[in-house]
């Protein structure tokens, strides 16, 4: 399974603000529910390619109003629920 980098946020509005920036810069991303292994919150996170993490860190650095509560790279294995 490929590694994925999850960006976590204190609120959905921070997530949407970052999404807007990623769109402007044509950086590929996926909005995702936050995996339980990373946080107990039931909220959004954004998945990016681990190689693009530095670009996201740059955006966060330049946009102080966007709060990020963590960036984690994990290898996530899908579970077969209907087995």
């Amino acid at each position: 399974m490929r590694k994925q980098t999850y960006i976590l946020f204190p609120s959905h509005s921070d997530g949407l603000a970052l999404e807007k920036k990623l769109k402007e810069k044509s950086i590929k991303y996926i909005i995702s529910p936050t995996p339980r292994s990373l946080s107990k919150c039931c909220g959004i996170s954004i998945i990016i390619d681990p190689e693009l993490q530095y670009l996201v860190e740059e955006i966060v650095e330049q946009n102080k109003d966007i709060e990020v509560s963590g960036i984690h790279t994990i290898e996530k294995k899908a579970r077969n629920w209907f087995k």
């Binding site: 609120s11 949407l16 996926i30 529910p33 919150c41 039931c42 909220g43 899908a78 209907f82």
Partner: protein, 430 residues
């Protein structure tokens, strides 16, 4: 997300039990949905809605209620959203698509009852569904005996209004349902304290029609030879339509449709060529019941259309927008809603005509008739549907299944055999 915990607490939810649900849902969604390849970027909005399923929308409902607004929870496509909205209320479809709630439902209901009803009642009793907790009134209907009697029990826990849906389609039945809509209108006016006017009803008829139009646009994209979106994603969008803010939903689904139409122009598909195209018909699939679509689309098929309440029954046909007074507005609503071919009606030839029409419109290769256990009307109606499809030479298979995982292997085997038969027939036809 401390603010949501406070919010859930204020809604008198069982936080500990709800936490168990939160543990499962995101993982379940992630594994079922996020593993699909080449999804349209517009699906990010729906990923967002699901990620925030107990967050943002609940917060919006809470703000509406703080401002004096009312929230109505419903379970069926016969409850006219237009009436709720015209009195500045918010209507939300309620969940009932997970095994998680079934044991709590079984505390007050018999075990041999459909999982949808057991889960819906269980969701309320367990205090783990913030939509139930946000509803100032629940609106039931008489589409089946199980629901009809369950409302009496649910009414002990929460304010309940039941609409009497006729079981036949004679002229007097249309008149009766119009009267029922009028009674519901008065109930809504009482609870909200807002009188429905011709203008407000007209405006909301237009808004709900716009929601129907965008869903039809989505479904039209699925008629393409190259499928730009999976059935699983389309089902999710229809499920979200029941409870999302309508204006936002219309905007975001239109954006997605722009992308899907662009994909069609560029011949981009999420399925490989010659994947058997399946028309799914039968019982509603409440969120998060994605089981049958997931099994079909991981067994070699593609769902191209749902003739179901979470499908064409929800959005096909519009309410007449040219109403001149409140009475003609109620008539227009009755005409549109009574046109739905629910299996509760007898006779119900219209549903068979719909299935054959949709099979052709969506260029399907076969029909899967999906029924929840103990859903007698749909299960019994299978015979009439099968006889008609046999006459037309349309392959059909019935699958009865609940929300559990145990029968998945067996269903997979049956699906694979069905798809193989469809593919062989196609080869022989060539």
């Amino acid at each position: 997300m401390a603010d949501y915990r406070e919010l859930w607490d204020s809604l008198d939810m069982d936080l500990e039990k709800h936490d168990q649900l939160c543990e499962v849902l995101p993982e379940f969604y992630g594994d079922i949905y996020m593993t699909q390849e080449n999804r349209a970027e517009g699906m990010n909005y729906f990923n967002f809605v699901v990620s925030e399923i107990h967050g943002l929308r609940i917060k919006e409902l809470n703000e509406h209620r703080k401002d004096g607004g009312k929230v109505f929870g419903s379970f069926c496509v016969f409850v006219p959203d237009e009436v709720i909205m015209a009195a500045d209320g918010i209507g939300v479809g309620l969940c009932g698509g997970s095994d998680f709630w079934v044991p709590d439902g079984e505390k007050v209901l018999p075990r041999n009852m459909c999982p949808l009803i057991k889960a819906s009642v269980g969701a309320k009793l367990s205090g783990t569904c913030p939509y139930f907790q946000s509803a100032d009134m629940l609106v039931g209907e008489t589409t089946c005996d199980g629901k009809k009697k369950a409302w009496e029990i649910l009414g002990e826990y929460t304010p309940m209004h039941v609409m009497d849906l006729p079981q036949m389609k004679r002229e007097k039945d249309y008149t009766h349902f119009k009267e029922e809509i009028n009674t519901f209108k008065e109930k809504v006016e009482d609870l909200t304290g807002n009188k429905i006017t011709l203008e407000s009803l007209k405006e909301k008829i237009k808004l709900v029609n716009d929601k129907r139009r965008v869903l039809q646009r989505l479904y039209d994209a699925r008629k393409s030879d190259k499928l730009p979106i999976s059935g699983k994603d389309s089902l999710l969008i229809t499920q979200v339509a029941f409870y999302d803010d309508p204006n936002r939903f219309i905007q975001k689904t239109n954006e997605l449709c722009d992308e899907l139409e662009e994909r069609i122009e560029k011949n981009i598909s999420v399925f490989k060529d010659d994947t058997p195209r399946i028309l799914l018909t039968g019982t509603p699939m409440a969120i998060p019941n994605w089981k049958m679509h997931h099994l079909i689309e991981t067994s070699g098929g593609a769902v191209v259309c749902e003739e179901a309440c979470t499908g064409t029954k929800y959005f096909e046909r519009l309410v007449d927008e040219n109403i001149t007074d409140l009475d003609s507005g109620l008539q227009a609503l009755s005409d549109r809603y009574m046109g739905i071919n629910c299996a509760c009606f007898s006779p119900n030839e219209g549903r068979i005509e719909d299935i054959i029409r949709l099979y052709k419109e969506y260029n399907a290769d076969g029909v899967i008739y999906n029924s929840l256990p103990f859903c007698h009307t749909y299960a019994i109606e299978y015979k009439k549907v099968k006889d008609a499809l046999d006459k037309e030479g349309i392959p059909v298979m019935m699958i009865e299944s609940d929300y559990s995982m145990q029968d998945a292997g067996q269903i997979n085997t049956r699906l694979e055999a069905f798809f193989e038969m469809i593919s062989m027939n196609k080869e022989l036809a060539i």
